[in-house]
Structures are given as C-alpha cells and as structure tokens.
Symmetry: C2
Amino acid sequence: MSAAVELFSEQGFAATTVPQITERAGLTTRTFFRHFADKREVLFGHEDAPAQARAVLAQAPPGMSTPEFIAWGLRLMARERFDGHRDELRVIQALIDSDESLQERSLRKREFLNSLVGEALRSRGLGKQQARLLAEATVSALYVALDQWLNSDTDVSIDALALTALAGLHADLDGIGTAQRPAAELGRPSP
Amino acid sequence: MSAAVELFSEQGFAATTVPQITERAGLTTRTFFRHFADKREVLFGHEDAPAQARAVLAQAPPGMSTPEFIAWGLRLMARERFDGHRDELRVIQALIDSDESLQERSLRKREFLNSLVGEALRSRGLGKQQARLLAEATVSALYVALDQWLNSDTDVSIDALALTALAGLHADLDGIGTAQRPAAELGRPSP
C-alpha cells in the first residue's frame, strides 16, 4: 500500500499533509509535485495517466471486433490497475466514500473514462452517438464490476465480471428495438 | 415558454431574481417557494416531480417484459417532459451549458434518474447490479437521444430515438460474453 494511502487511512484524508506523505515515502516534495497536482490526486492516478491510457488504447491490435476491443481494454485495465491491489483499492474506496470532494473528483474521473473510451471507439469507426452510448455502458459495467469485486472475495477478475455484466445487459436489451408500446396502456398518469 | 426561462434567456441566469420571475409569471413569491427551493430548480422540475415520477413508474401495466417496460417509460417521459417543448428545452440546455453550477445540478439530476429507473427495475425483479447497469444504459440512451433531438429538427420523438440508440447498443454488444481476449495480444503497454 502506498505511503499516502496508509497515512490517509491512519489519520484521515483532511489531516494528512503532503510533507507527511513525502517523508514516509522517502521522496522530496518537488518529486511529489512533479507527479501529482495535490494530495487528492494520489488517489486518482498520476498526471501522465490519461495520456498513457490514450496511447495504450491506440495500440489495440488491428482487426478486432468491437466486443473484442472492449474485452481487450478491460483486461488491460484490470491488469494495470486492479489485479493484486484489492486491499489498497478497498481503502481508497472507503476514503472516497467518506469525503465529498473526493466523490466529486471520482465522478469527474468517471466522466473522463467515458470520453477516453468513447474517443477510442470513434477512432475505430463508430458514430459519435453510438460510441458515446457504448462507452458509457462499458464504464458502467466496469463500476458495477468494481463494486462486486471490492465487496466480495471472488477469484474472478474484474474484467471478467465486467464482461459478464455486459453480456447480461445484452440479454436484457434483447428485443428492445421492436418492443411495442401498447397505446392503450399509455393512460395519463394521475397527478 | 415559462416566465423564468424567458427572463434567464433575456438577461442571464445570474442576473435574474425570484421577485422578477414571480412578477412576470403573476405569482406570489410564497407560491414560487412552495414549488421550488430556488431559481435554479425552475430548470429542473418542481419539488414533487421525483415522487410523482416514482409513482408513475410503479403504475406500469403488469406483464410487460423488461424491454417493453423501458419503451413504456421512455414514451411516458417523452410525452410529459419533451413532446412539444423543444424550443424551451433548447433554451434551457443553452443556459445549463453556460453555467457551471447548473451543469453540476444537471449531473445530479442524471444520477437521480439513474436511481429512479434502477429502483423501478429492481422492483420488477431484476438483481441489484443488473438493474443498475440497465438503468444507466437507458438513461445514457435518453441523453444521447436528447442531444440528437435538440440539435436537429427531426420529427422522430425522443423516446423513439432513445430506443433506436438502445437497439444499436444491443447490436454492438452482440458476442460480448464470448469475446476472446487473445493472450498473445496482451503485450505490456509501452511506458
């Protein structure tokens, strides 16, 4: 577990200072600020993470179908960010749940992930609206899977949980385009 | 168009006061505050809207499949909130886009819609994670449809656009559970 997460967990997020973090981690403050804008960012990945993630997605092997690309991206993400870090991620999740500003930051991170995945899908030929919807569904599935994975001791990896969730969504949507809206049933709702 | 939206549009959201709104609408301030916590809320529906929406969803005719229920709910929402209000909704959207606090409120409204739809799906027998994912996908489709509908002059109703988007999502997810993740392709990303 990182020095920062240890300290946040021991003495609370608000009470922890950057000098305390750098002292425990054996870093200079200068090095810290080269990687993180502030202490909050330690919980959300270093400054270069977005650019790296973008570059990684752009390296997807050619010829994959859209579902293959999604499965590939989820596996990569699980390997880089989740596999083997469940205990630390549980502590981070509890910290986020306890602090409103961290929750807001977490929502912004989710929005960022939506754009990142949407952008990658567009660059693979999907239309704008189609890419956006599929990206949001994929990110939703990742968060549903994260919730399952952090709140259980399952041996199933987070990407496999997310794929199962997406397969369930696919099944739930079966027939959606042709679902009739029985006109007679559309009675005006009571006030 | 409502008096409040007219004023916001004429003189800006920040510069408009509740007394100005009530004067133009011919209401007392007291009546205004019985329906809205503040001027911002005028753009997001009156105080009782959440409880009403919940009651309406609970009145869904029995025996509908999940896709039928989604189509029914979207049609109802289109009829109550969207059909015939495109010009006013365009003005509201432009106001929201121009003000950060309105954007935050808009995100919270979206989160609320996610919970509302998720709750309705759970009460129809779906599991917690399954309901959450399907609710988020449905709300995503509604926002994608709203974007299409506000930025075009299409005669297609917003619920029909949302259903088409969901049908597209269903097609995009075809094969997702069985999508293989070619092990050899999972080379370590470059730093």
